[in-house]
């Protein structure tokens, strides 16, 4: 085991990065969608006609999980686990690991926060369904920070392959 890790340390680190991006962003989205789902269920219990509106709000925190999957997928492609050579240096392995972290952590925390904002927005829709557009904007603002993390992770993961280290 130790021998395997020593000879494949670079790719192990890179795979760890990909796993973290999927893992943390996925956890965050599951929590966020779960929180918003509870609020949505509460509203639909009283007024089933609001199902369509609250469903859209419930799904908003789900995007971080998709972003994490995307980063994980790109990272796995770049490091050759999905095909080609997976012989990468330890330095590159570390770089891939760090490249995945913005998506992992910003994805995780932003999804939970977005879930809470979505739950509050669902409360707004419960009382004022005509304000659905405004209710969408509040949780959508949280998405900004997940997108920033996604951009940085994509730029880093894509650029590392071309580096000569």
């Amino acid at each position: 085991m130790i021998d395997f890790l020593a000879s494949n340390f670079g790719v192990t680190l890179a795979a760890l990065g990909a796993a973290l991006a999927v893992f943390f962003a996925g956890i965050g989205s599951a929590q966020g969608v779960g929180i918003a789902g509870q609020a949505a269920a509460g509203v639909v219990t009283e007024d089933p006609s609001k199902f369509g509106k609250v469903l859209v709000l419930q799904l908003l925190p789900g995007t971080q999980g998709i972003y994490g999957l995307l980063i994980g997928f790109i990272a796995l492609s770049q490091i050759g686990i999905l095909g080609g050579s997976s012989d990468i240096s330890v330095a590159k392995g570390f770089l891939y690991l760090f490249a995945c972290l913005p998506m992992a952590f910003a994805g995780w925390r932003s999804a939970v926060s977005q879930g809470k904002a979505a739950a509050a927005a669902i409360g707004l829709v419960a009382k004022r369904p005509e304000q659905f557009g405004k209710a969408m904007i509040f949780p959508a603002m949280v998405e900004t920070y997940a997108i920033l993390a996604l951009l940085v992770s994509i730029l880093m993961v894509s650029a590392i392959g071309g580096m000569n280290i």
């Binding site: 509870q38 269920a41 509460g42 509203v43 739950a119």
Partner: protein, 324 residues
């Protein structure tokens, strides 16, 4: 339920808040030409099922539905904080049971159903003069009140002992929780009771011993200074209140006891109103119970005003501010 965030429950309460009466609804109810028109308006708003209910049945039904909803939304372990609202009913039942045991006669319809302790258990304990089966918060004062009632026949003193114990139980339990809303509720309830006692006791020239027995400890009023002011004069009470957070209540107190009651209810509603914008925690649920009680109280005022053909402006000045 998500780690005490009460997300599902608060979302349901948000929808339920839509059915609470706002100022416009109360104005419409107030504009009803007669008592029967007012009942019809309530039926149209979804109060009652058959359309033949009496006013008391409608109000009782609303209260029952509120508690049914709360029991559905809140786990048993979290119901404790809601029981604070029901303690008054338990203590009312204790008064009724001791007095019924004293007169050795069955008096119908004197117990309130919605308490935390079965009224029949309280009655049985009073009849057998054995309060050990009752919860500690009731048993403690029950013995003292029973002894006073049976040895002196003084119903008022019996009531004073139980009323004070009720307020102490509410205050103590509320301050065991870390919920600010319920703490403020208990504090206001105790302070309002103390102010009411002070004014009435001053007007009826009650003794120092009576005041010591009647006043309850609370954080916003100094018991010693209130006793001194009450023994002195009504003006001294107002002077003392001027130095407290209840200074803006003085005008209402001077006006009438019902004006002060209204001031207290309005203050409570203003305290809980920010919960309309809180998407999590148990506080919006507590606020809903308070808002519903406030609504029931306002509807009762309008209905009894209509029944007694009071002029609209006389009823209006008794109405409370609404939560929504």
């Amino acid at each position: 339920m998500d780690d005490k965030l009460f997300t599902y429950a608060v979302a349901r309460i948000r929808s339920k808040e839509l059915t609470l009466f706002d100022k416009q609804d109360l104005d419409q109810l107030l504009a009803s030409k007669s008592y029967n028109d007012a009942l019809r308006f309530l039926n149209e708003k979804g109060w009652g099922t058959s359309g033949n209910e009496t006013a008391e049945q409608l109000l009782a039904e609303q209260r029952e539905e509120t508690w049914k909803l709360i029991h559905e939304l809140v786990d048993k372990e979290d119901m404790d904080v809601f029981n604070i609202f029901l303690y008054s009913n338990d203590f009312h039942n204790l008064k009724a049971a001791i007095k019924q045991a004293y007169v050795s006669k069955d008096v119908p319809n004197i117990f309130i159903k919605n308490g935390t302790v079965d009224p029949m258990l309280i009655l049985e304990s009073a009849r057998e003069h054995d309060f050990i089966k009752l919860p500690a918060f009731l048993a403690k004062c029950a013995e003292e009140a029973y002894e006073v009632m049976f040895h002196t026949g003084d119903g008022q003193l019996c009531d004073v002992i139980i009323d004070r114990a009720a307020l102490e139980a509410i205050h103590a339990r509320a301050f065991e929780t870390d919920n600010e809303l319920i703490r403020d509720y208990a504090e206001l309830k105790c302070a309002a009771a103390n102010i009411n006692i002070a004014i009435r006791a001053q007007r009826t020239q009650k003794s120092y011993e009576f005041l010591e027995r009647a006043f309850v400890e609370c954080a916003t009023l100094n018991r010693k200074r209130l006793v001194e002011a009450t023994l002195n004069s009504e003006e001294a009470i107002y002077e003392y209140l001027e130095t407290t957070v209840y200074s803006d209540a003085i005008e209402a107190i001077k006006e009438s006891p019902s004006a002060f009651d209204r001031w207290c209810d309005n203050r409570l509603i203003n305290q809980v109103r920010p919960q309309k914008y809180n998407a999590f925690t148990i506080s919006p649920l507590l606020a809903y119970v308070i808002a519903k009680e406030n609504e029931i109280k306002s509807v009762r005022i309008i209905l009894s005003g209509k029944l007694n053909s009071l002029p609209e402006d006389k009823i209006r000045e008794r109405l409370r501010d609404m939560y929504v």
